[in-house]
Symmetry: C2
Subunit: 157 residues, 2 copies
């Protein structure tokens, strides 16, 4: 899979850096992040049902969603510090199982030309322990599976 | 000055940690963070005029303010991820002179009893360079002077 997610988990720094290419134009990849009816088709691991309670992908907007699984419900929420169409977004992120442990993520949508897009993700955690906990939660699998679905979805937009 | 600001700038980690005691009840220290007419009386270094364009200190709220100095204007803005009265807040923070370089700050208001309050600040930056740049911008002086004014202000509330 040439478009596979690459993750960098730097030792001793509370970051997660990801990069993923998509066979779709930047406008389609952005739109799949912007419209809740599209977001719920790809975000998260395979096989989870996603309920979006709020998702206002604009500067100053908010979001909250719940992944429903056989093991229980997992809620997430945050605010969008900035959203620039087809370009850039920064959001806070809280998994409600660890209240008040809040990370901040930037998303950069790079137009590669030839109807291809590279997504750059930089997530910063309040502690190294919070970063390591996120990594050990199976985040890489969830991101990877989600982006596989996003790639297919964005190709059809 | 027994209430002086103490700052920890850990080597190799993109954090700034601050702690400051106030001779005022937690409700007064919180209120001085919550009401823009009070915020503009203490936030920032001595001698700056502060214009608050927006300041909605609630979960999901936004803020923007400008410090006006003889050398020019300095704008700042962000969003409040969470605000809990007399307890806790998390906000994003962007100095508009470095657009898209966004930190996240948590504020914890600890009731020390005896009408005293301890404020704990944990700020996390997207890179070590951004953290170091903030430190070298004179942030410690600005925080220290601001908190001196906040202490006096909150004692009178």
């Amino acid at each position: 899979m040439t478009n596979a997610l690459t993750l960098d988990i730097p030792a001793g720094l509370p970051y997660i850096d990801g990069q993923r290419d998509f066979d779709a134009p930047v406008a389609a990849v952005f739109r799949a992040h912007a419209e809740p009816d599209l977001v719920k088709q790809w975000l998260g691991p395979h096989g989870y049902e996603m309920d979006i309670e709020q998702y206002d992908f604009v500067s100053g907007g908010r979001y909250r969603y719940v992944h429903r699984t056989d093991e229980g419900d997992y809620g997430f929420h945050g605010v969008f510090h900035v959203v620039r169409e087809n370009d850039f977004a920064i959001q806070t992120f809280e998994y409600e199982g660890f209240p008040d442990v809040v990370s901040i993520e930037s998303l950069r949508f790079e137009d590669l030309g030839d109807r291809r897009t590279r997504l750059h993700v930089h997530a910063v955690y309040p502690t190294l322990e919070a970063r390591d906990g996120m990594v050990s939660s199976g985040m890489e699998t969830g991101m990877s599976q989600g982006y596989d679905r996003l790639d297919k979805l964005a190709q059809g937009l």
